[in-house]
Amino acid sequence: MNKEQIENKITQKFGSAIEIQKTKNPEPFIYVSIEKYIEVCEFLKTDPDMCFEYLFQLGGVHYPDDRFEIALTLSSHKHKHELVLKVKLPHDNPKAPTATTVWEAANWYEREAMELFGIQFEGHPDPRPLLLYDDWNYGYPMRKGWTGPDFIPMPDKTKGGDD
């Protein structure tokens, strides 16, 4: 299916829970509301026209005003198409249901987002930290504006060429 067909089918099925993002990319970029997140994931994986059986990556993004999103890149090896699924998380309490029930691969990606962004994934089977060391208690380093004991921000030099 091409970009328009995927967008149409998913909008027909879920209606107002879906918001199509206008981009120049060949892949559809789709926002889904947090209530329908797991339902949409299951649909994307199992529907014979969609068949997104492969989770390419899952990562958090911290936008200004403390707004968090998670972005999933999905790929279908059967139909050879891709999709970026994004979820806006609640402002004060970034929390999402876990996608490990749909794709096992989400396990480590969610653990990573949990410790680096402080996004909670409810129902995660193994919510231990993944990358940071055991005694880490300096907060969530991938959040914008984070500073820690050894963190020195780069001086802002916009001058300078490529080579």
Partner: protein, 373 residues
Amino acid sequence: MTDVTKNIQLSEEEFLLNMGPQHPSTHGVLRLVLKLRGEFIEDLTPHVGYLHRSIEKIAENRTYAQFMPFTDRIDYCASMPCNLAWALAVEKLAGIEVPPRAQYLRVLMTELNRIASHLIYLGVMSLDLGAFTPFLYTFREREWILDLFEMTCGQRLTYNYMRIGGVSRDLPPEFYQSCKNFTKVFLKKVDEYEALFTYNPIFLTRTKDIGILPIAVGLEYGASGPTIRGSGHNWDLRKVEPYSSYEKFDFNVPLGTKGDVWDRYMVRVQEMRESCKIINQALDGLPEGEIKAKVPGVFKPPAGEVISRIEAPRGEMGYYLVSDGSTKPYRVKIRTASYGNLQVLRYLSRGWKIADLVAIFGSLDVVLPEVDR
């Protein structure tokens, strides 16, 4: 240190064994906590993160061009593909057209790097299985490839060769002949490796029918590259979603049948031969012209989001890039092949002995800095 044994229930015959972080077979620093019954593995918990350098955070504090050398460090055994994926992501975002000569040079270097990476796999895997000699042989050939890289970009390990819009340097005059000689000699060397390994009874005992990966399980856990192709899953991004003019090259995608350690070995050995084919085609068909598109010195791509995907030696790698229209990327999420491949290890090693775990782990060709980033 937190107590890893805390939540593990053990019966009387079971016990825990710590393997790593410094273990000869972990190729970097990986800690495995094994739950054993006798010599058999009941369960396994990988602990990663010993090489975490937070490259994603670094990216947010560097300009697009400044981040290129950092991509080298994601996977130092195969830096060129990491460079390439970053360049492709930024070019996609900014809509930059790469000149044909640069595209061919990228393919040439990526394939040379693929061979170098598979040679490391082959040598180190043989070390893990107790054979020392093949390691010396494979590193002898790898040395030649590193010389070719040094000739072109001055570096032997972290190349920083690609640029946004092209590559940094053209080939030196002596490159063509040396590279041609290499492919000619190397194909004979692959036969030599095969004579040492492929039907060697000891190697067969250690690898045949060990650690079988069904395709469905591999996809579920996010395995990719030779790991999943060893199970017979025909999926190679160079064919499926050609980038950097891969559609102009004629090569095959080697597939395994069963998905055991031996199949994954065979896929990689055959991929080295296919890469030689691509290198020869790239050398002979190298178009004339520019090696770099015109990119402004202060480079500001439009705001937006892109994803890029390529077939690195270990599998699919790619970037999810968010730009806010400034000189620095807003967010870079790096997806690497070993991340998915290492997640499968737990499934694969259950029920096997510790000695088999070493073979299984070797066959996944995991490079730890790529997992930790």
